[in-house]
Symmetry: C2
Subunit: 158 residues, 2 copies
């Protein structure tokens, strides 16, 4: 069953989170997170309310714009589709989808999807030691990593 | 403005397409495609109604299951989130999001999102010639490729 009020609450929490995240307002973003939260992206797996936001400043340092393409809301879930544009030195347009689950108007899980291959290439070029670089790519490069601090590395090359 | 009937038409076309695609029924999948269609994924860019389905048999040969996680429908768009499970020899669980736009109950665009890095690793290991492998990864490995026939390569290693 779908109700307008539940969808409105979903939309409010997700939009508030999304906008806060991309202006670097961790406090407001974290205020939308509920108990038992989990986050997963190609680079980060985290169960803490703000663990996935640890590298946010680094990310925002290279982001030049966020273009919202789609937002769809249900009673207890939502999906955003957006493009993240980065500085010319990076040159990546990151096509992104983000699936949210919510309970009582708070976000309880986020699955963030994008193609990490362009980032892997940049990180291989500038980030790791030669030994680490020699072992990349591996079959599951980062999906099992916990809070891999990749973003400051990326930021450092701007 | 949102109408139940438009959402129902959206849902019918997208669900029909999705189910047909994963049972290999190209005819039924293509029947949901409208004029001016475009498709984009990490590996394929195509403007023809069935160009993105050319490697479907190869894909299905390694897929062991499709787990639908979310489906959200609007009047003229929809988003599916699902996991594609592959054979043990591949060992990839492909977290996938698919954004559809529709007009008059037909699909006019699909943006398919997943992390191509695990696939890049497999393709680098078994697919390309040594010269090609030496130049990978590049900053934008496949987003500009048109109908890159990667799937049969993947199928051949099962």
């Amino acid at each position: 069953m779908t109700t307008d009020s539940a969808q409105t609450a979903t939309q409010r929490a997700v939009r508030t989170y999304h906008e806060a995240r991309f202006r670097g307002d961790v406090t407001t973003a974290a205020a939308q997170i509920g108990e038992g939260f989990s986050f997963r992206s190609p680079f980060i797996t985290s169960d803490s309310p703000t663990g996935h936001l640890d590298g946010l400043d680094g990310l925002l340092g290279i982001v030049t714009g966020v273009e919202l393409i789609s937002e769809l809301y249900g009673d207890t879930e939502a999906t955003l589709v957006y493009d993240v544009h980065t500085a010319p030195a990076i040159g990546i347009t990151q096509h992104t989808a983000e699936h949210f689950r919510l309970r009582d108007g708070r976000i309880t899980s986020i699955a963030l999807l994008f193609d990490s291959a362009p980032w892997q290439a940049i990180m291989s070029a500038v980030g790791p030691t030669p030994d680490e670089a020699a072992t990349k790519p591996d079959p599951e490069p980062a999906t099992t990593a916990v809070k891999r601090p990749g973003l400051p590395e990326r930021h450092s090359i701007t």
